[in-house]
């Protein structure tokens, strides 16, 4: 029994210790950001591996999510004779929720895991220590560009996801199911507000971008430098990112749209 309490306390302390290390790393990355200005090509290369390479999965899933929304929304709305509101349903659910959240989840799986594995392997093969020996700060040279790349890529990917999703919903609703084209767009434009919906969606995806890349970078940097440690860190990145994104989404939604 006593052992059980001891291990519980140890786990709790370990969690707080990791949280503290993560915060210190975050602060170090932020203070190191200005050194990136003369070395912006580092960021560009990371935007390629984090953003451009995620493009295919984002576009394909956005298209299918939009098409499913169109189909499901139509089946529900047609019972009330309100199928003209399909555009509103598709656009609002994509711009407010599904765009930022699903993009962040895919991003964690596609780019976050790759970041963790890359940084963890760099640590395991002592590349990071070697950089320190050459008086190069690995936080500024390796971690900061990846962080900025995630921060830049996430809102762009989310916007692409939402836009492609709206097109998918339009394809299913208008081309296949015969909803009126003009009503689809005009009702959508009537109900979607630039500030309330689109701007808040972008803010959400920015927040998710910061959190997911932060988790990925921290897990990589904090991984036990063995092959097993790296694989565990990669798993933790995906699991923790997904949980944090969903939790944070509720908080942000309550702040932006709720009147609690």
């Amino acid at each position: 029994m006593l052992d059980w309490f001891q291990s519980l306390g140890q786990k709790g302390l370990g969690t707080f210790e990791r949280l503290g290390r993560a915060s210190i790393l975050f602060a170090n990355i932020l203070t190191g950001l200005h050194t990136l200005i003369p070395r912006f090509h580092l960021v560009v290369y990371q935007v390629y591996s984090v953003g451009v390479l995620s493009l295919v999965i984002i576009v394909v899933s956005g298209l299918f999510v939009g098409m499913v929304l169109g189909l499901q929304g139509y089946n529900t709305l047609v019972d009330f004779g309100a199928e003209e509101s399909l555009g509103v349903v598709v656009a609002l659910s994509l711009v407010r929720e599904l765009g930022p959240v699903v993009t962040a989840l895919l991003f964690a799986g596609r780019a976050g895991s790759a970041l963790t594995a890359e940084i963890g392997l760099m640590k395991a093969t002592e590349q990071l220590s070697a950089m320190e020996m050459m008086a190069i700060d690995p936080i500024r040279r390796v971690l900061a560009p990846r962080f900025v790349a995630g921060f830049i890529s996430m809102p762009l990917l989310a916007a692409i996801f939402s836009a492609v999703g709206v097109m998918g919903g339009h394809f299913v609703g208008v081309e296949l199911l015969g909803v009126d084209d003009g009503a689809f767009w005009s009702q959508m434009q009537d109900s979607v507000d630039l500030y309330d919906d689109i701007y808040n969606g972008v803010i959400k995806s920015l927040a998710f971008g910061v959190v997911v890349t932060w988790i990925a970078i921290f897990e990589g940097n904090d991984a036990i430098p063995t092959s097993e440690g790296v694989s565990r860190a990669t798993t933790r990145t995906v699991v923790h990112s997904a949980l944090v994104v969903l939790g944070l989404d509720f908080v942000l939604t309550a702040l932006m749209f709720g009147e609690i």
Binding site: S153, P155, A163, I198
Partner: protein, 156 residues
């Protein structure tokens, strides 16, 4: 991967992302309806403005000619004061125009419908629409209908 190709791909990615944001702003949201926000303000007092919101449409003959830009409560007269901005190009509304709050469809959103009068002068900035009719509240209407139905059946 040579670095020029990487840069080109990143450029395409950033351009596509910006284009998607732009498309969301222009095509999906109400940005295009913001364009004609210049106009003159007219106020109207309603006994009941329930359901009306800021940015609700103001229309005449079924065409949108402006938007509601403010709803306030007058504590002296206990009425709702609704400020409407009418687009500048519609400057020939007669002075005795009347305003009513209607519902688009049975359960749709509320809007202000203006009906023209016959006055020679036209409404100007700061004028007040004097003839108004409040919004129809479905519960009240049903309540009236039910109570009348009950008294009639009692009389029989």
């Amino acid at each position: 991967m040579n670095s020029r190709l990487v840069e080109i791909w990143v450029g395409i990615f950033v351009a596509a992302g910006t284009a998607a944001l732009f498309m969301l702003a222009m095509q999906v949201s109400n940005l295009s309806t913001y364009a004609n926000d210049e106009g003159y303000d007219v106020t109207a007092r309603f006994e009941d403005a329930s359901g009306l919101k800021v940015r609700s449409p103001v229309s005449m003959a079924g065409v949108r000619i402006g938007r509601v830009t403010g709803i306030e409560f007058d504590k002296q007269t206990l009425e709702a004061v609704v400020t409407m901005t009418i687009e500048t190009r519609f400057d020939t509304l007669p002075k005795d125009t009347s305003a009513s709050i209607y519902t688009a469809g049975l359960l749709g959103e509320k809007y202000v419908g203006l009906e023209p009068g016959g006055d020679e002068d036209s409404l100007k900035q700061g004028d007040r629409v004097k003839l108004t009719q409040s919004s129809m509240v479905l519960e009240k209407l049903i309540g009236q209908f039910v109570s009348r139905f009950l008294t009639e059946s009692d009389a029989k």
